[in-house]
């Protein structure tokens, strides 16, 4: 390979692999947070490149709200059996049953906020000192200032004023007991970079990323997949539409976009021309202008 052949995707990939190996080298008990979304699926491919033919030096951790798209769970289980790595699942239902969180009620009820508690409990139970996540700085302006190694206190809180400077490619992962570090290897990738990488690497994705016919309802101006978790009533009109999902989260907070893009090339074209940035389709950010900043301070990814 000579310098003319090195492209920005190679550079981003090499950086992400470097970061994953730093996690392996610096921490006693890391974990990879796996949501079933394209970003964490990309992380799994990068981890294969970083550590094969060895095993991953960390398990995968999925925080299961119980309100997943069934396609995501099928994908997750198939992937785990293909790669032969360990999966740990933290259930939001357990947190509810233990009385640690209280289920929201009403039409816009979501378990999205509750999963922070389950995540922090799962981290504490397993004594994880580092959690690798697929967040990107281009997603949202609070994330534009996120470090690659982001130190959280024992309450999982992020303090933007106590962030460590990150110089060159040196990441300081030293922490006190009880603290942990969130690590974001694809911080410098954009949504389009992730898609181009998925295309280049021919990575398989859950089917909901591709256009398909689905029963949807319109809530707050957004298309939501019809599901019992949405507390639907007579005001909700179920329609059949061709849709796909740009991000994959909980069914209660992930909106669909109308689309006929059922091939990855079509999706990439669609994103290039897209009039709505990716997080525009996430209800959870619409709450207030600083919604993400506030959730991150509270221990969110």
């Amino acid at each position: 390979m000579n310098k003319q052949d090195t492209t920005y995707l190679d550079q981003l990939e090499a950086e992400a692999i470097y970061i994953l190996r730093e996690v392996a080298g610096q921490f006693e008990k890391p974990a990879l947070l796996f949501s079933g979304g394209k970003d964490s699926i990309t992380l799994v491919r990068l981890a294969e490149k970083a550590f094969r033919p060895g095993k991953f030096p960390f398990p995968l951790v999925h925080i299961d709200t119980g309100h997943n798209f069934p396609e995501t769970i099928t994908y997750r289980d198939n992937m785990i059996s293909r790669i032969g790595e360990k999966l740990i699942v933290g259930y939001v239902q357990d947190s509810i049953d233990q009385g640690k969180v209280i289920e929201q009620t009403g039409k816009n009820a979501s378990r999205n906020a509750l999963q922070t508690v389950t995540l922090l409990d799962t981290i504490a139970e397993n004594k994880f000192d580092a959690c690798i996540g697929g967040a990107r700085r281009d997603e949202e302006k609070a994330r534009a200032k996120e470090r690659i190694f982001s130190v959280r206190d024992e309450f999982g809180q992020w303090d933007p004023k106590r962030q460590r400077p990150e110089l060159w490619n040196i990441y300081n992962g030293r922490i006190h007991k009880g603290e942990n570090v969130r690590v974001f290897p694809i911080s410098n990738w954009t949504e389009l970079d992730v898609w181009n990488y998925i295309r280049r690497e021919k990575i398989e994705l859950p089917s909901i990323y591709f256009a398909h016919e689905r029963e949807v309802i319109t809530r707050n101006g957004q298309l939501m997949a019809a599901a019992e978790f949405l507390n639907m009533d007579h005001e909700d009109h179920i329609e059949l539409k061709n849709v796909r999902f740009r991000t994959v989260g909980d069914m209660t907070c992930t909106a669909a976009v109308e689309s006929h893009a059922d091939q990855i090339d079509d999706i990439i074209e669609e994103i290039k021309f897209s009039k709505i940035s990716e997080r525009g389709a996430r209800m959870d950010d619409k709450v207030s202008e600083a919604a993400m900043e506030d959730r991150k301070k509270g221990g969110y990814f």
Binding site: T6, Y8, K49, G54, A142, R164, P165, W168, I175, I276
Partner: protein, 436 residues
């Protein structure tokens, strides 16, 4: 009215996008110089702002005097910053054109954010220095330029901004260019490009301005798209710190032992003679793996797994180098230090130094001086406060295998960690072997 984005690179033929490279640059300047407006303008005119972000922008109450959108809002990140109208950190912004992908490290320019600028500069290939055409070269210009030279950024673009406020005068541009050239010479900045711009009006940012026909250079974006930056690849110093040892220890891979790391500079080839440092043991490369395949060679920037012909005890903290160009190995090193913590430097305690994958204890043996970064005067001192920059001699508990920062940034830079707080408290740039 919302202008929906028409992305510049939408006409790119499929496949071309894979051949683009990446340019990281940082911007020094304050809000007063129009730095945020400049970045906002690059994002806006290159149509890298998506509609919902634009909508949020339009809904905001902040407008320029003439009623147009205040583009500076695009680079403000945190609630705390918006409330105070300041930038308190390094924000990373992304955009791409049909020729290149860009990462901007957006840092505040006031003296209390020196450490942020040092951080941003350490992760950049190029610096943009903003000068207000009305004020010319000021104290802040000297400070920013000093940081650029300290961090050894080879490529500097001086954007002489607010040309609209000086009637697009060529004389103003020329006199500022001459004044800056004197500073550049003093600071040994070799490649400096001067561009007259108005970030507010969009002159010479993305498109060439029709108001300054006397300027025959490129627009800022054109310059950023075409400049060649790739020093590390050309280096003769092949360096790979070992991050992790891959040992599957399965029946079929019983003897597999691969050294995983990212090549900092130069290149490695199968059969190259290498030295493991700091131990000094020599061997040869037997195999290079990357991307699930074997390669004959691997170069700077790549994350690879190297295999050696001999079975040696190597672990994280060791570095593999080409035997023909070995680095320095020492425990006493003269270095420039930028202090990044609110707690001042304490020469009586032991710090930790992190140099690539190596972490060892160290002491500050001697403080040589600090620099008044506004005037470049050297001052005697016995401590460093937040944002102080100067020269020290440090002594490490274990030897480091390093290059001088001016020759090899990634193997010549390190951080200091305070073991009491675990915070990153200093940035180090190695300047000389101080061992005897």
């Amino acid at each position: 009215m919302i202008k929906y984005p028409r992305l510049l690179w939408k006409t790119v033929r499929r496949g071309d996008i894979f051949n683009m490279d990446l340019l990281k640059f940082f911007t020094a300047g304050s809000v007063d110089d129009g730095k945020s407006t400049l970045i906002g303008r690059l994002l806006y005119d290159s149509e890298s702002i998506l509609a919902d972000q634009l909508e949020a922008l339009q809904q905001s109450n902040r407008k320029n005097d003439d009623g147009t959108i205040d583009l500076a809002i695009l680079t403000d990140g945190l609630k705390a910053e918006r409330e105070q109208g300041i930038t308190i950190d390094v924000a990373y912004k992304y955009f791409q054109t049909d020729r290149r992908k860009f990462i901007i490290a957006d840092t505040p320019g006031h003296i209390q954010y020196t450490r942020n600028m040092v951080t941003g500069a350490s992760n950049s290939d190029l610096a943009i220095i903003l000068v207000d055409a009305r004020n010319g070269v000021v104290e802040q210009t000297i400070r920013h330029s000093f940081l650029v030279s300290l961090l050894e950024l080879k490529h500097v673009v001086v954007c002489i901004n607010k040309m609209d406020m000086v009637a697009y005068s060529e004389d103003v541009f020329n006199s500022i260019r001459e004044a800056y050239a004197a500073i550049a010479e003093k600071l040994n900045l070799k490649e400096v490009t001067y561009i007259p711009v108005s970030a507010l009006k969009g002159d010479n940012i993305v498109n060439k301005s029709d108001k300054m026909s006397w300027y025959d250079g490129k627009s800022l974006l054109d310059h950023l798209e075409t400049i060649e930056v790739n020093e590390a690849v050309l280096s003769h110093q092949a360096r790979m710190p070992v991050q992790w040892v891959i040992r599957p220890q399965t029946d079929e891979l019983h003897d597999y032992r691969g050294y995983a790391g990212r090549i900092l500079s130069g290149s490695f080839h199968v059969n190259d003679k290498i030295t493991v440092l700091p131990s000094g043991i020599r061997s040869e490369i037997s195999k290079i793996e990357t991307n699930f395949t074997e390669q004959g060679e691997a170069e700077s920037g790549m994350s690879v797994t190297l295999h050696l012909k001999d079975n040696i005890d190597i672990g994280r903290g060791d570095i593999l180098v080409n035997t023909s160009h070995e680095p320095l190995v020492a425990q006493e090193i003269e270095a420039d230090l930028c202090w990044m913590d609110t707690r001042p430097l304490d020469s009586s305690i032991m710090y930790l130094i992190q140099h690539n994958s190596k972490v060892t204890k160290c002491k500050i043996r001697e403080i040589l001086h600090k620099v008044n970064i506004n005037t470049l005067e050297k001052i005697e001192t016995d401590t460093f406060q937040l944002n102080d920059i100067g020269r020290i001699v440090l002594k490490t508990a274990e030897p480091l295998a390093f290059d001088l920062y001016q020759e090899n940034k990634l193997n010549g830079g390190a951080i200091l960690i305070d073991p009491r707080t675990n915070l990153t408290v200093g940035a180090l740039m190695f300047r000389a072997n101080a061992g005897y």
